[in-house]
Assembly symmetry: C2
Homo-oligomer: 480 residues x 2
C-alpha cells in the first residue's frame, strides 16, 4: 500500500492540480479528525475538487485502483461519519471548494447549489432575494448543504418545514466509478421511476457523492411571535403545541422543550443570560410562530398585532386550563433574542459542565410524556444528582436527552454511563422511538443499528449498498 | 405452465381458503383489465389475502415456484400498472380485503392502516376524530391507500400537503420470498439507515408489496374561502398563487388552472352546470384557502370573515395590477360546490367529447407560462380546431395537458396524435419537465422512461430492482 502512495498522490495532482491535493500532516489534520476530536483517521491525501467533472474523475480513479473515498462537508457531524479509518487507503474528498449557487429561480422558489455551500450562505442568498431557506442548526456557519443532505439534517424549524429531505427537489450524485446522476430539477412533482433522490439523502456518503442539489425556498415569515412558558408537564407541552398549530393554521416555526436542569446548567455557565421568567419552572417551552403576511404585524385597536394576539389567546386559554403556569411573550427583537439565547447557549453550557451523555432520540408525540417520566424515574434511581437535560425539538418528537454530571463534578459518572445508556435505549425501544432522530449513524451507532433493526431491514439495506457500491469503497464502516 | 396451474390453484386454496382464490373468468375479469379497459392480462388466479402473514406466504410460494406477482389496489390507475401481461404465469394479488385501520393515534396525529383501505374511508375516519387526511383525488371512492402509495398519488391538495410520499411516516412491506419489512412508525424524524420507505413509495409494486402504512393527519381546515378568477394569462396565475400563499401564510389548499376550452367542453356535456362568471375568460383559476383557526370564520365589523378578507384583498390588489380580469368568491357552501363542479366534472366531460389525448406533465413554476404558450402555438399550427384543455394543479406545477378533438368530431384526430404527442414531449423536454407528474409509469410509459432518462439513472434503478427482486417476479414489465 505504501509503495502505491507516491504514485497515487502524483496521479491526483495531475488530475486536480497541486493546490487541490493536501498531503502534509499540518494541512490534513483538521480533515482527518472530527470537530469533537473523538475520531482520527488516515488518508493518502485530502482532495478539494472544484467541479463535478473532477469528482467524477476522482471516483473513476478510486474505483480502478480500489481506493476508498470518504466524502466530507463542513466536518461538523457528531457521529464520526466523515472521518476515515486508520488504514490509510483513503482519499478524503472535501467538497468545500464546490460552493457555487448555480441557479436561483425566484419564480419557482428554488435554488440549485453545490454541495460545498455553507448553510449560512444559502440562508443569506435566499434572504437577499426576499425569500427564506428554513434549514437552521447550530453549525450553520460551518456546515455545508452537502453534509446536511448526506445526514438528512434536522434542526430548529423541522416542525414547520421538515428535515433536509423535505426541502430537496433534485440532486446531482457521482457514483463510485465516476458515473454522474444528473437528477437536478426544480419540479414539485415527478413520478418517473424509483425515488433515487431520497435514497441518497441520509445515506452519509456510503452510496455516492452528492455534488449539487436543488433546494426549495419559502416566503419569508415577516410577522413573528416568540414566547417562553412554564408548562404543567410534558403532556401539557404537547397539548399546547397542538393548540398553537390549530390556532395559527400551522405557523409554528419552532417548539422547544426546556426542563429546569437545562436552565440550572445554563446559568452556571452563563450567569449573565437573562432569566425568561421570575422563577425556574420544572418544565418549559420556547415557542415561535411566524406569518408571511405583513398585515399580521399591524397593531389593532386592542394594541396587539394579529400574530401576537394568536399567541396571547392560546397561552391565555392554556393558562385557564392549567396547562401553562407562567408565560412571557417577547415584545421586541431584543426580548426575542434573549429568549432564544436560553436555547442556543445550552449545548455550549453542557460542554462547560463537564461530562455529558448526549443523545438524539425521537418519539411519537403520544409517547413523549410517558417516555420522559420513565427516564426521570430511572435516572433518579441511578443517581438523583445527575442533571436531566432532556430538551429540544419536541414539535417533531425529537429530544436531545442529555445527562449532565452532578454540579461540582462526579468522579463516578463514567462508571454510571453504561447503566444510563441502557436505561435510555431500553426506553426508546419500549416506546417505539428512534436512536437517531437527526444526527445519523456514522461510525458511532453502526453496531447499535445492526442490533436494533430487524435482520430483514438490515439485509435490504445491505443489498442496496451492494448494488451501488459492490466493492465497498464508499465511506466503508459507516451506517451499514 | 398449464400443467402446473391446477396444482398452483390447489396450493393457493390450501393457503388462503377457497373464497380468497378467484379462478372463474366472470370473477377475475374486473381484476385482469384496467378500468379504462385498455389493458388485458391473464393469471393463474386472483387472490385476496386478509393478513400480512398470508401475503408473506404467497410471496414465499411465488418465489419458490417462480411465479410472477402483480399487486393491485382499487385498480383505478391510468398507466396499466396493475394489469398483468397475457402469459398467465401470474398471481394477481388484490389487497382489497386487507382494509383495517390498525391504530389511530390522535395525539400523534397519525393512523396505521392496511393497504386495502379505500381512500374515502380514511378521509371519513380522520374526520370522525376531528382531524383531516388531505389526500384527495377523483378516484377516492374506489382507490386504495396501497395503490396511492404504490404510485405516489397526487391530487388536488398537493400544493399544501405534498404527494402521498409526504403524508407517509412508516410502511410495512413484503418482499419477494416472503420477508416482511416492518417499518411502521409514527415518528416524524428517524435517521437510522437508508430511506427504504421512499424507495418503495412510487415503485408501483415492482420492488415489494406495501401491506400497511402509518399516515400523517392534520388539523382540519374549518374556515375556507373558495374563488374563481379570470386571469390575464398563465404567468398572472403563477403570480396570483405566490401572492395568495404569502398573504395567507401558506394556506392555499388548491390552485387549479382552467382554460376556456375546458369550459367549452364542459358546458357541451353538462349544460346545467352553473357558469362561474358572466363570460368565459381565456384563462382562469379555481383557488381555495383553508384555515384551521375557527376565529377565521368570525365576521368582523366590515361584514367579512378574516379568511374571506384575505381572498378579497389578494384578488382586489391583483385586479388593480391587471393580473385578474374578473372574479367571484363563494359566499355559501352551495356556491363553493358549484365552483368545484366546474373542475371535478371536467374529466368526465372529456370522456363524452370523444377522442382525447391525455397527459400528466409537471413543469417548474417559472416554465409554466412559456411551456403553455409554446404548446398553444404548436397545437394551433397542427389544427386550430383542437380544444386545448391544459388544466390542473398548477399550484405544484402539474398540468393535465389534454387535447380534445374538435367539436362535432374529427375523423383525422388519430392521424394527428403522433404529431401532437411529439409536440407535447419535446416541449416537456425543452423546459426540463416531467412526463409523469402523478400518474406514474406502469406499462404505458415504460419505454418512454427508458428513452428520456439518462442511462446512468436507468442503470441505477435497474441495479436496485436486481438487488431486491433478482428473478424479476415483482410486477415485471412495469416502470423499469
Amino acid at each position: 500500500m505504501n509503495d502505491q502512495k507516491p504514485k497515487i498522490i502524483d496521479d491526483l495532482i495531475t488530475m486536480l492540480g497541486k493546490k487541490a491535493v493536501l498531503i502534509k500532516a499540518d494541512d490534513t489534520k483538521s480533515y482527518l479528525s472530527d470537530w469533537h476530536d473523538r475520531f482520527h483517521g488516515a488518508a493518502h491525501a485530502v482532495v478539494l475538487p472544484e467541479s463535478t467533472e473532477q469528482v467524477s474523475a476522482i471516483m473513476a480513479y478510486a474505483d480502478t485502483n480500489n481506493i476508498v473515498v470518504v466524502p466530507q462537508g463542513g466536518n461538523t457531524g457528531f457521529m464520526g461519519g466523515a472521518t476515515p479509518d486508520k488504514r490509510g487507503n483513503t482519499i478524503l474528498l472535501s467538497m468545500r471548494r464546490m460552493n457555487n449557487v448555480r441557479e436561483f429561480d425566484k419564480k419557482n422558489m428554488s435554488m440549485t447549489v453545490e454541495a460545498g455551500c455553507i448553510l449560512q450562505h444559502l440562508q443569506d442568498v435566499a434572504e437577499d432575494a426576499g425569500l427564506y431557506f428554513p434549514l437552521n442548526l447550530a453549525a450553520k456557519g460551518s456546515c455545508t448543504i452537502g453534509g446536511n443532505l448526506g445526514t438528512n439534517a434536522g434542526g430548529l424549524n423541522v416542525v414547520r418545514y421538515g428535515t433536509t429531505r423535505a426541502l430537496t427537489l433534485g440532486l446531482e450524485v457521482v457514483l463510485m466509478g465516476g458515473e454522474v446522476l444528473d437528477m437536478l430539477s426544480g419540479l414539485r412533482k415527478d413520478n418517473t421511476g424509483y425515488d433515487l433522490r431520497d435514497l441518497f439523502i441520509g445515506s452519509e456518503g456510503t452510496l455516492g457523492i452528492i455534488t449539487a442539489a436543488t433546494m426549495r425556498l419559502f416566503p419569508k415569515p415577516v410577522a413573528v411571535s416568540t414566547a417562553f412558558a412554564e408548562v404543567r408537564d410534558v403532556d401539557a407541552a404537547v397539548e399546547l403545541l397542538h393548540r398553537l398549530q390549530a390556532a395559527s393554521g400551522g405557523m409554528v416555526e419552532a417548539f422547544e422543550l426546556i426542563p429546569a436542569d437545562i436552565m440550572h446548567v445554563l446559568f452556571e455557565a452563563f450567569p449573565d443570560i437573562q432569566r425568561p421568567l421570575a422563577s425556574i419552572g420544572a418544565m418549559n417551552v420556547l415557542m415561535e410562530i411566524g406569518s408571511t403576511n405583513p398585515a399580521d404585524n399591524d397593531v389593532d385597536g386592542n394594541g396587539s398585532a394579529p400574530i401576537q394576539a394568536i399567541m396571547e389567546n392560546v397561552l391565555g386559554s392554556a393558562f385557564d386550563d392549567q396547562l401553562v403556569i407562567d408565560a412571557t411573550i417577547a415584545s421586541s427583537d431584543a426580548q426575542r433574542d434573549a429568549l432564544w439565547d436560553v436555547r442556543e447557549s445550552s449545548p455550549e453550557s453542557h460542554k462547560r459542565a463537564g461530562k455529558v451523555i448526549r443523545s438524539d432520540v425521537a418519539l411519537t408525540q403520544s409517547a413523549l410524556a410517558p417516555f420522559y417520566a420513565d427516564m426521570v424515574a430511572g435516572v433518579k434511581s441511578i443517581d438523583p444528582k445527575i442533571r436531566i437535560c432532556g430538551y429540544g425539538h419536541i414539535g417533531d418528537g425529537n429530544l436531545h436527552f442529555n445527562l449532565v454530571q452532578a454540579a461540582g463534578g462526579d468522579p463516578d459518572f463514567e462508571a454510571k454511563t453504561p447503566k444510563l445508556l441502557e436505561l435510555l435505549y431500553s426506553n426508546v425501544n419500549k416506546y417505539g422511538g428512534s436512536i437517531s432522530a437527526e444526527h445519523g449513524i456514522g461510525q458511532v451507532k453502526r453496531n447499535q443499528l445492526a442490533q436494533i433493526k430487524a435482520p430483514a431491514i438490515i439485509n435490504t439495506m445491505k443489498a442496496i449498498k451492494g448494488a451501488l457500491d459492490p466493492k465497498n469503497l464508499m465511506n466503508p464502516g459507516k451506517v451499514i
